[in-house]
Symmetry: C2
Subunit: 154 residues, 2 copies
């Protein structure tokens, strides 16, 4: 994407939507992430998940979040990058092997900074959904977004 296509503060609005590409998640990816970052039995094997609230292998929530971030970086082209000031993450349903993830994002709030006239805090709400449309994760982030240089020079 060229710099011209990237979004500054004057290009974003409440209600603006973004849709990512799809990512296919298999059991190997789930087990590899879990072994490094979240080695709980239910994230490592079907056997380990037996008798737990998951029943069968489920991805670490942080794996779903990391994949969501990858898809967000590709689909929400903010000129100064996606830098979360504060965030919330919740997982209404487990992420399972064989699912195809897609991230649907919407700008839900824009709060101009009181101290910095060229900046606002933009709130983006992102749902990570399975192919069937089930919501696996809800991610809300507040991010600083700046006016472009051109508009600052006007």
């Amino acid at each position: 994407m060229s710099q011209a296509e990237r979004l500054h503060l004057e290009d974003v609005y409440v209600g603006q939507r973004f849709e990512s590409r799809q990512h296919f998640l298999d059991a190997d990816q789930i087990k590899r992430f879990a072994a490094e970052f979240d080695p709980q039995p239910f994230h490592l094997s079907d056997e380990g998940a037996r008798g737990t609230m998951f029943g069968t292998l489920a991805a670490s929530g942080w794996h779903t979040m990391a994949l969501t971030m990858r898809l967000l970086v590709e689909s929400v082209p903010l000129a100064d990058g996606l830098i979360g000031a504060s965030t919330e993450v919740a997982w209404p349903r487990p992420t399972r092997p064989g699912m195809t993830l897609q991230v649907h994002s919407e700008i839900v709030d824009i709060k101009p900074s009181r101290s910095k006239p060229d900046m606002a805090i933009v709130t983006i709400r992102s749902e990570t959904r399975s192919e069937e449309g089930n919501v696996l994760q809800i991610f809300t982030a507040r991010m600083p977004v700046y006016k472009g240089r051109k508009s600052a020079q006007r």
Copy 2:
């Protein structure tokens, strides 16, 4: 850790603290995580960070979070696992190569479930700190915690 040492609802209390081991983070780990999950220039190289709010290479916040989860799994021995119902994550300072991370956690709230007498929602607040004691990340998670089988049989 044996099952006997793992904590059920009757073993936890507000004010209870946990301290993880330390994890040394180098530039290679930061770049590898970013290449897979958060490929923004400031997470990939010093050159890419020049002229951004980071100035030099900084870890993805989700890398700090994933490492925090690893350290939490090892240091907060809840019997039924660490399964976040809803969470908040914020990063007061960037995580940099060469830092040694440690997670300091405290149980800050226990809310008995109205519908399930053997369960409560336990809120854990975890600070991920550098060796110098600077807070890099504040993570708050609400997790279901269950009574042990013994006490349920009483």
